[in-house]
């Protein structure tokens, strides 16, 4: 501890130099504990019933680098720049159902957590050529044949993203309009290569964006309710009604204002997700109710006729009436509930066509479309 010469019990905080302790280091304090610690067999967390019925979203940030090439390395300061977007693997663990029992859900969770258990295996693995998610599809050639794949040299480590370039690390003023997504169209497109050209050309950077993907993503959200996250922390909600080259038109909710906004001002664009598709379509109820009504109605009418003709013939009309009433009492509600479920199912399916997502990262647009079945 650094002490001033005047008062040996005081702690000086000014212009301190490195302390060189004369005593030996207290290595004994870091030895094994006298009594081995025991992991208590307590519950760590318990899912409530409601949580068990919901899908879980897991996100794992993955490393994107391999063993560096031997040789002198430059001082890379840009890697530590703050970045608004994180890449990784997103896994959705479905809620347990008849088809996916809770056992499968546990298996999902365990499998998803496996990388945490063997981090060294992940670090030593070859860097993948195509990141798992949040990347637009690039124009990579179709998969090579077995023989070609053996002849192809192993992929080199991926190029660092542009933010790793020190020249790109200049301060960015969020108030200044950034390059519009069309700027990516100026970049040379990766050549559509055949098998031999694949060997000669470096692998396409995972951050290359085909402008057609961006345009398609924008076109794909026209007419849908969207949530916009704008630069500067502002947010807008509404219906995206038209897309122009550098702008788009939004009818804001709930004010109804028509806004023409620049695409470059958008940090993230997300379409409102429709509710989950109901597991029941109502078909069974409709069919069952129809069958019951088709049988019970004539039986009930026949029983009523017999009651009018021969009130004393109890052995005839009472069983018919009872059967008819029971059939009607069961069939009518089945038809009502079946119709409601059918309508709800059709309404959700109507919304469940595709869910696009586009977002502006520091250097490019990323987009994707997810189909649900």
């Amino acid at each position: 501890m650094h002490m001033p010469l005047g008062d040996p019990t005081a702690l000086d905080l000014r212009f301190r130099e490195r302390d060189f302790l004369s005593d030996g280091p207290p290595v004994d304090a870091f030895g094994p504990p006298a009594i081995a610690s025991r992991i208590e067999d307590d519950e760590i967390a318990v899912f409530s019933a409601q949580a068990r019925e919901e899908a879980l979203l897991l996100f794992f940030q993955t490393t994107q680098f391999g063993i560096p090439a031997p040789g002198p390395s430059s001082l890379d300061l840009a890697s530590w720049s703050l970045r608004p977007t994180t890449f990784g693997v997103l896994a959705s663990v479905p809620a347990p159902s008849v088809r996916t029992p809770s056992q499968a859900r546990r298996t999902w969770l365990v499998a998803a957590c496996m990388p945490f258990l063997w981090p060294l295996a992940a670090e030593a693995a070859e860097p993948s050529q195509s990141p798992p998610i949040q990347r637009p599809r690039d124009e990579t050639p179709p998969a090579a044949t077995q023989g070609e794949s053996e002849a192809t040299p192993p992929p080199s480590p991926p190029e660092l993203p542009a933010e790793s370039n020190p020249s790109a690390a200049s301060p960015v003023d969020p108030a200044v309009t950034e390059a519009p997504p069309e700027a990516s169209s100026a970049a040379p497109k990766p050549p559509r290569a055949n098998a031999s050209a694949t060997k000669a050309s470096p692998p396409a950077s995972p951050f290359d964006v085909d402008p057609r993907v961006v345009d398609a993503a924008w076109e794909g959200v026209v007419g849908l309710q969207v949530d916009l996250q704008l630069k500067g922390g502002l947010a807008r909600q509404g219906k995206l009604t038209a897309v122009q080259r550098e702008t788009f038109t939004l009818i804001e909710s709930p004010t109804g204002r028509v806004l023409v906004m620049s695409k470059a001002s958008v940090d993230s664009l997300r379409v409102r997700m429709p509710p989950p598709i109901p597991t029941s379509t109502g078909t069974g109820l409709l069919a069952g109710g129809g069958v019951m009504l088709s049988i019970a109605t004539p039986v009930f009418i026949t029983g009523a006729v017999f009651l009018g003709i021969c009130p004393s013939c109890i052995e005839l009309h009472v069983p018919m009436l009872m059967t008819g009433i029971v059939g009607l009492a069961g069939g009518i509600p089945m038809l009502i509930y079946g119709t409601r479920r059918r309508r709800a199912y059709a309404k959700v399916v109507e919304q469940y066509q595709l869910v696009p997502h586009v977002a502006w990262t520091r250097n490019e647009w990323t987009g994707g479309v997810r189909f649900r079945f």
Binding site: D7, L75, P84, G233
Partner: protein
């Protein structure tokens, strides 16, 4: 590295601005993207923040995504801003010089509330540590870390920097002994001293009237004594150090409870609305 540290709103960005303007290479962007225009009002000269504000240690270096590595011998002359929780995590090999700024707790509370008012309203379900307890926990950790690990460091009050910038900056520049500051650091200090601007005085408010749970008026007097010792450039007496340790013992349960609530909220947010 030259590590500039302190709580938020204590002048860390100001020191980074002074060092940057003096030619010292800095790690961090002056205006990181995503901060928006509103926070620019609070720090018009920029923030100079990087992903290393959480410390320079195994989780941040090598970089967790790219693998880029900052070696201690490569970065001895680089300045970087690290908040106090990150300072205590930072490997001592990177602490070649550490400039720590401490601001009076009243001004700190007022300034934090002013910045929070500029931001979107927070989620009311997220536990928030009262700013005065944040001030205490971080500055206590700073003094404790200085005392335990013994790396080269200098603690200065924000008020003294604003009061007499030329002298304070010249003293620090001489101590830094950095080649970018030239043979006469006082000249470099004189050149940048004019960049020190005084924040508008915080709104007068009786902060003692609504103390957070667990905090007593005697604690506030101790906070004042700690700041007074730093502001008057006096060492912390043995009596004051014992009183600080006693206060830490008394307030530890409040801070632990806050951290537990924060962790529980994070787990609940991750796994579902209700965990039992």
């Amino acid at each position: 590295m030259i590590v500039v540290t302190g709580t938020k709103r204590s002048g860390t960005s100001l020191w980074m601005h002074l060092l940057s303007e003096s030619g010292v290479p800095c790690i961090g962007e002056r205006f990181p993207s995503g901060w928006g225009d509103r926070l620019g009002v609070a720090n018009p000269d920029g923030y100079y923040e990087s992903e290393l504000i959480a410390g320079i240690y195994h989780r941040t270096n090598p970089h967790p995504l790219t693998g880029a590595y900052l070696a201690p011998q490569q970065t001895r002359g680089h300045a970087v801003k690290v908040f106090i929780p990150g300072l205590v995590r930072t490997d001592v090999a990177f602490l070649d010089r550490c400039i720590a700024t401490v601001r009076g707790w009243r001004d700190y509370v007022a300034s934090r509330e002013r910045v929070l008012a500029l931001q979107p309203p927070p989620d009311p379900t997220v536990p928030v540590l009262p700013p005065v307890l944040e001030w205490w926990s971080q500055n206590f950790a700073l003094v404790r870390d200085f005392a335990i690990r013994g790396y080269p460091g200098h603690v200065v009050s924000y008020e003294s920097l604003v009061r007499d910038p030329a002298r304070v900056i010249a003293d620090v520049f001489r101590w830094l002994d950095h080649p970018s500051l030239g043979p006469d650091p006082a000249t470099a200090a004189q050149r940048v001293a004019g960049l020190v601007r005084t924040d508008p005085p915080p709104a007068a408010r009786n902060l003692e009237s609504a103390l957070p749970e667990g905090l007593r008026p005697s604690h506030l007097e101790l906070f004042d004594a700690l700041h007074h010792a730093i502001d008057s450039e006096q060492p912390l007496s043995g009596t004051l150090v014992r009183a600080l340790n006693q206060a830490e013992t008394e307030l530890r349960s409040v801070l632990l409870e806050h951290h537990a609530n924060l962790n529980a909220h994070a787990v609940s947010d991750l796994l579902g609305p209700r965990l039992s």
